[in-house]
Assembly symmetry: C2
Homo-oligomer: 417 residues x 2
């Protein structure tokens, strides 16, 4: 990508009402645009990051046999009344709207009811199970306050998955497969070592415990008690001697930290499937309940969290896996020979499927250095008359280390990524 063609190369200003560091940086670097509190649009670089996070998640979901769907955002009232989740006094963060006929509609905040409802057209027998479906979809929650940038959106992108199993035993086997897939996702996103499986309250979903995945960060809204050796924890909401014992944790080893929830999974039992009449007939002809689970990951929240977690005083620092490009290319001099060298390197890297942002803007080189840091691209490659003609200067955005290498060395370094 040539930066001269990218309109959104660093913003003229950040809204004065934007308090969250993640959003301030993402706005300043031209990744997102703030529409209102808790609502952001994704500009070209932001869309690339969002797609890369989505694709990492989709890949792991596909590996555990989940099928991708796309449910509607508009929700008919009737199926939510059956499960008693329509009334604002029961679920207090619905956005609602109205058809011309006066009929009320919901604007999707989660999708248990419509998924179960749609499966009624397909499920009869034990042969039709298990079913695993997921979607990556824009969701809406009418939050009273939304001051955490991309971490708590009124509109946000989410992966939600739903499993339907013959019984609790089969459900639990799949549930643990999902836990495993989630950790693979966090590893690819570079946050595995800061992310813990944390027991939490079932929330509106069930009365037992649920599993959260919490990434430790100072700005977190949740308090979590962690066993750092076991990589396990317990949310403050359910922190009690009784629960610690029940979960087999050692109270003396637990340290309290702040965390941001980057995933959650719930065993729903047959609450929704029974309510909406989704059942199966077993081999003996008897009707049985279907055991359901649901599994969420906030895609735009992850983007905000990763932005905030790795940022330094110079700007964003993306992990290679989700950076809009691996290389930020700058020429210090603008003589023909330098430009030719840059052009050639741009072609070679592109041919090697290495993504490059080439800063070919008509700007002072100092500004380009500042923007290279602000945008958070993993490697800054500089072409300068002060370096040997066949060499390049490579700076690692994370470690700030600078080295000089020839084309072979550069390619070797980048292709390892």
């Amino acid at each position: 990508m040539r930066l001269s063609k990218l309109f959104s190369n660093t913003s003229k200003g950040v809204p004065s009402d934007e308090a969250a560091l993640n959003a301030r940086l993402l706005i300043q670097a031209g990744y997102v645009h703030k529409e209102m509190a808790g609502v952001y649009s994704y500009l070209p670089l932001g869309k690339l990051v969002l797609d890369k996070i989505s694709n990492i998640i989709k890949e792991e979901m596909n590996k555990i046999d989940a099928l991708e769907v796309q449910m509607s955002i508009l929700q008919p009232k009737d199926i939510w009344e059956i499960t008693d989740r329509w009334d604002d006094r029961k679920v207090d963060n619905w956005f609602k709207t109205t058809l011309k006929s006066g009929q009320e509609l919901g604007i999707g905040l989660t999708h248990e009811e419509p998924i179960v409802d749609s499966l009624r057209s397909f499920v009869d027998s034990y042969k039709d199970l298990p079913i695993y479906v997921y979607q990556v979809q824009t969701k809406f929650r009418n939050e009273l306050r939304a001051k955490s940038g991309l971490l708590r959106g009124r509109e946000f992108l989410m992966k939600d998955m739903y499993s339907f199993s013959l019984n609790e035993v089969e459900h639990k086997i799949y549930y643990e497969k999902v836990v495993n897939a989630y950790f693979k996702i966090y590893k690819k996103l570079g946050i595995r070592d800061k992310t813990y499986r944390v027991y939490a309250d079932g929330g509106i979903f069930n009365k037992g415990f649920s599993d959260e995945f919490q990434t430790v960060i100072d700005i977190g809204e949740d308090y979590i008690y962690l066993d750092q050796d076991l990589k396990l924890g317990i949310n403050k909401e359910i922190y009690s001697d009784q629960n610690i014992k029940k979960l087999g944790l050692n109270k003396d080893k637990l340290v309290v930290k702040k965390g941001v929830e980057v995933g959650n999974i719930f065993s729903l039992g047959s609450k929704y499937t029974d309510a909406l009449g989704l059942k199966y007939t077993d081999k003996t002809g008897q009707e049985n309940s279907i055991f359901m689970g649901c599994y969420g990951i906030g895609v735009s929240r992850l983007m905000g969290l990763i932005a905030e977690l790795f940022a330094d005083d110079k700007g964003l620092v993306w992990p290679d896996s989700i950076s809009p490009a691996l290389v930020y290319l700058i020429t210090v001099n603008t003589d023909d020979s330098s430009l030719k060298k840059a052009e050639k390197l741009y072609q070679v890297l592109t041919q090697n499927k290495i993504e490059v942002i080439y800063d070919d803007r008509d700007k002072r080189v100092g500004e380009k250095f500042v923007d290279a840091d602000l945008l958070g691209i993993p490697f800054r490659v500089v072409i300068s008359s002060k370096i040997d003609q066949d060499k390049f200067e490579i700076k690692d955005r994370t470690t700030q280390k600078i080295e000089i290498a020839d084309l072979d060395g550069l390619l070797k370094k980048l292709l390892k990524k």
Copy 2:
């Protein structure tokens, strides 16, 4: 894909209130689920078709230097009031909702205002132009009636693109590039020969003419007068001797047909950019207006149109380019040798990146034949003991022609696609 793993392999029934053929077929074949009139969810096969259409469109948009973004669905009232498009008496198909604070929000039906607004953070000078941005996004229109299945949704997937040029001359050059890109898209989708460029009313966008792309089909809601040699037409809305003359058409050659609008493009001038204060400074330091265009294609509408256009009495007939798979594989016999042969073919095709739906369900072979037709997969490949051990029966879904070929012949046929 093994059909035994796909929960949505043909539905138990079609809702009695579904009048549109495209939706009836797509529901019956398990591609979509109806949530309410004009609102559909996309099941795994439907999601695949939708993604393939989107990707064809994205590819052509990227080729003409448009950058992908994702604007928010929730819309703040203020920017729409500036252009006088907030009031329901001015734009009569908004869905609206309310924040807890009582503040009214819109639910995105188009994105001129927010795009222009977001560009204010980036545009100053003539050097910042041109800008071309697009998104593929779920949009919402509060239609009074929605009886045409996927052809007129209350919730639908749309590609919307916006161009920002220095002046009208540069705008027109890009405008014709988009016309060209649109025809490439329709060609890839298999509907080029039935699709016409049709002059139409500017609608809510401008007072001059706009360009529509209309696909001729009996169920179309628009009447269009076509010159079939020129591949040009004029919408009934603006059909008059004066306009026919103005557009250089020959009245005697025009024949009236029904069409479905599969794309539209508008010159917006500086209506929105001026209103929202998006201007640029030219080389002499003078402030100038920015010339804007907008370019839409309905993605889910195209899916409905193509479903309806090519369907026959046996079911759907997908063009190769957007079919969820190229091959539907059936074994007539279930002896070990047949199953082994099928398994091997499934592997070979998959290795050759040919997408296969393998009907490995525990069903009668007659039912599988019926479903192969209903699902509309381009080639049905049958393994049967009545055919030579090293041969396969191939049936073309469109022409219904059957031929026998060995593996080499089969691969040659499929890899040409």
